[in-house]
């Protein structure tokens, strides 16, 4: 025993100890929460939006216009969704950002029965999901919100229409383009009347590329070569269209082991072997190289126009007042051709309340109305009124590329698994161009692998 304890006189109204006080506080909070949960259900309808295009909240503070790169894809789509949220306080958008192209995540969500309410989808991927009944036809829904499908451009309408039904709200059409560093082109003596001198056949291409390298010491072409499959495939498809080659003799059979394909792959292989294309670059490295003035032409899609144009307007940057963009120059024919695809917004099939369905359709209508804002990124507009508007055509370079919305071609609509095909073809093209495999072997393997894939796609009646 330490010592005698003083006997305490009991307080007539004892004060609670700190432990008791905490207990009471927790109890009160629990009662409060319980009572709150008894209140009528919130009127806010929650909608899950799943999109690609990246994460850039740092450039678009909540409730504000973009403070950086205002015409970038990510910035525009983030701002558009914020604007919709602001205008519709009764709808809460829960935005998931999936890494490009988004189908690994979306496929897993479909397989587990928990897809989002609305998602971005490439037009080339839509037949796969539509034929399995995973996305909803939207003709009826669009009528409910007065979303006019007759205002879709032909390329856009074609891209979202499957077996006569509209399955998505077309957001854009896109294609790969030649983005040109005019400052370096001038240095290489490849500018005439303020326009870049572009090749008209394979020999001119090689000659101009060699001239460019000799005068600037830099590669003529910048294109992702590492960890990249899509870009090589798009080059091949565009130049096959240029030669009017039949790529698919029927939706289950691709033809790649052909003289037309060999011509294209041999040309790119020579460009690569002569060091006229920068080696060892993945997508971010190739984009950074172009922005830093380390190459003449960047082969990338419409989506980079906004970003490159912003650089062209920034004093001190290598692209300052020295950027233009052109469709792929035709090397074999005379008629402009381009392999195009597009992004659309689709409504995955799942249980949803009428309010959730109405909210999704309202968002689609909002995105249609704001087609011009999205077209600022460089993508081709999907609405006729926007494509013909002075506002759109006055944007930089749009006069040069707007025709692609009608001349551009997709793969035949009946071809399934187009993204998987793109992977296989790109894989083999990369092997051939970088010299890891002979051109004949690569084309033969690509043809075999794609036809094997299509042969083993489960028939519709077995699904």
């Amino acid at each position: 025993m330490i010592g005698p304890f003083k006997k305490r006189t009991p307080h007539p109204h004892p004060l609670p100890s700190s432990g008791e006080r905490e207990f009471r506080a927790v109890l009160m909070a629990l009662i409060g929460l319980t009572l709150m949960s008894c209140q009528p259900k919130s009127d806010v309808t929650e909608v899950t939006v799943q999109r690609i295009f990246g994460e850039c909240r740092a450039n678009v503070p909540q409730g504000q216009a973009p403070i950086k790169n205002p015409d970038g894809e990510c910035e525009v789509v983030t701002h558009l969704l914020d604007e919709f949220q602001k205008a519709n306080p009764d709808i809460k958008l829960k935005v998931n950002i999936a890494p490009w192209p988004g189908y690994d995540q979306l496929s897993a969500q479909f397989a587990s029965g928990d897809p989002p309410d609305i998602a971005t989808m490439h037009m080339s991927a839509m037949p796969d999901f539509a034929s399995r009944g995973l996305i909803e036809p939207l003709d009826g829904g669009f009528k409910e919100v007065s979303l006019d499908v007759d205002n879709f451009t032909p390329a856009a309408r074609n891209g979202v229409t499957i077996d006569g039904q509209v399955y998505g709200m077309p957001f854009d059409n896109w294609t790969q383009l030649w983005h040109v560093n005019m400052n370096l082109f001038a240095k290489a003596g490849l500018v005439r009347d303020g326009q870049p001198i572009l090749p008209r056949n394979p020999d001119e291409l090689l000659a101009q590329a060699r001239q460019f390298k000799a005068k600037t010491g830099l590669p003529y072409l910048l294109q992702p070569t590492d960890n990249e499959r899509a870009a090589f495939t798009r080059n091949l498809f565009t130049y096959l269209l240029d030669q009017k080659a039949v790529v698919f003799s029927d939706p289950k059979t691709i033809r790649l082991n052909t003289p037309e394909a060999r011509r294209i792959v041999n040309l790119f292989k020579q460009i690569y072997a002569e060091g006229l294309m920068a080696p060892g670059q993945d997508y971010p490295a190739a984009m950074a190289a172009f922005l830093n003035g380390e190459g003449g032409i960047c082969l990338v899609g419409t989506w980079m126009i906004g970003t490159f144009e912003a650089e062209a307007n920034t004093a001190g940057r290598p692209l300052y007042q020295g950027y233009t963009v052109k469709p792929y120059p035709m090397l074999y024919g005379t008629e402009q051709a381009a392999f195009v695809d597009g992004h659309a917004w689709v409504m995955p099939k799942r249980d949803r309340t009428p309010a959730e369905r109405a909210a999704v359709l309202k968002l689609m209508k909002f995105l249609q109305v704001h087609d011009y804002d999205w077209a600022r990124t460089g993508h081709l507009p999907t609405q006729k009124d926007v494509a013909q508007s002075a506002q759109y055509l006055s944007l930089p370079h749009r006069n040069d590329i707007v025709a692609l919305a009608s001349t551009g071609k997709t793969l035949p609509a009946g071809v399934e698994r187009q993204f998987a095909i793109q992977d296989i073809v790109g894989d083999e093209m990369a092997s051939a161009i970088r010299g890891h495999k002979s051109v004949d072997a690569a084309l033969s393997d690509a043809e075999h692998r794609v036809n094997d894939l299509l042969f083993h796609v489960l028939s519709r009646q077995d699904r």
Binding site: Y103, D104, S107, A108, F110, A111, D128, R132, L134, T225, D226, N227, E228, R229, A278, P279, G280, Q281, D282, A285, A288, A289, R417, F419, A420, D423, D427, A430, S431, R434, H436, K437, D445, R449, L453, H456, V457, L458, D462, R463
Partner: protein, 305 residues
């Protein structure tokens, strides 16, 4: 109540203790395993539907050059990573098995890479190994040498994957070895010191035999783990160039989730399962037999201390 009925009831109720674990194990491991085996006999779509094709998927796999290349890549990767991941952490553990602050600091340093996610690891190594603008290429440029194509040369790419993986995975086996080393009784070392045993003799006759079970554990553990290589090539090379870094799991992922041909992917998974099982069993029997025969052949070090 008789003693035997009490005993039988006791053994029955004991099973309840493991029931939750058994339930989860059966649902999450055994059922998917059997379902996967069944699925491998079907031509099936990721979103449902299928037709029975027997062993056609397996026959297809053995004709598929991409799959055969992925099997060869996987074995090559295991051969590149398992020996260093078994030996290097042991050396590190031997060096760091002391109570100084410096040792504690370096234990933390070597373990720190293990806590990173594969996304961070690949992002960091991409910046190091990129042949255009990567740290390694900048260093070689300082010496006027050409950049090494770590990620775009089919002969080098798997070695790059192995370097990344060894750097990433060193920490855990090192910790296992450290814990095993700390279990070795100190009196054996004191006895060896009294006998004037050299450092090498002590290592060879006391330390290594004492941690031999941990060495086997680490080797088997790493073997199972490295056969399942996926994240590094998926994020850095997508299996390229020319399929040189595509392992079996990436092949399965591409077939299942990109091509939606899940029956074919399930068949490839069964082959991977069989490979891992056989490799683990062979390794286990070889190492345990060898350590048993060595134990019988060598005289015991422990004296009469």
């Amino acid at each position: 109540m008789t003693a035997s009925s009490l005993k039988s009831r006791g053994s029955w109720t004991n099973a309840l203790f493991v029931a939750p674990y058994l339930f989860v194990y059966l649902c999450l491991l055994i059922y998917p395993l059997i379902a996967g085996m069944g699925l491998s006999l079907f031509k099936a779509d990721l979103f449902g539907g299928g037709t029975f094709v027997g062993f056609e998927n397996f026959a297809r796999l053995f004709r598929d050059e991409v799959f055969l290349q992925s099997v060869a890549n996987t074995f090559y990767f295991v051969a590149l990573t398992v020996p260093p991941l078994t030996v290097l952490p042991l050396f590190l553990a031997l060096l760091l098995n002391r109570t100084t602050r410096v040792a504690a600091f370096f234990r933390g340093v070597f373990f720190s890479s293990s806590v990173l996610s594969v996304t961070i690891v690949t992002l960091v190594w991409r910046m190091i190994l990129m042949s255009e603008g990567g740290l390694a290429s900048n260093i070689t440029a300082l010496f006027g040498a050409e950049a090494i194509a770590f990620l775009s040369d089919p002969k080098i790419v798997m070695i790059s994957m192995a370097i990344i993986t060894v750097w990433w995975c060193l920490g855990l086996p090192m910790m296992l070895y450290l814990s095993a080393l700390q279990q070795v009784p100190k009196d054996i070392y004191e006895a060896a010191e009294l006998d004037n045993a050299s450092w090498w003799r002590t290592l060879w006759s006391i330390t290594l035999p004492s941690v031999s079970r941990t060495i086997i554990l680490v080797a088997i553990f790493e073997c199972v783990l490295q056969f399942q290589l996926f994240g590094q090539p998926q994020l850095i090379t997508q299996g390229g160039p020319n399929g040189a870094s595509r392992p079996i799991v990436l092949f399965i992922f591409e077939i299942g989730f990109r091509r939606w041909d899940v029956g074919y992917a399930a068949a490839a998974s069964q082959i991977l399962f069989a490979i891992i099982l056989i490799a683990t069993l062979v390794q286990y029997f070889v190492t345990t037999r060898r350590s048993r025969s060595e134990a019988l052949a060598q005289p015991k070090v422990r004296g009469n201390a």
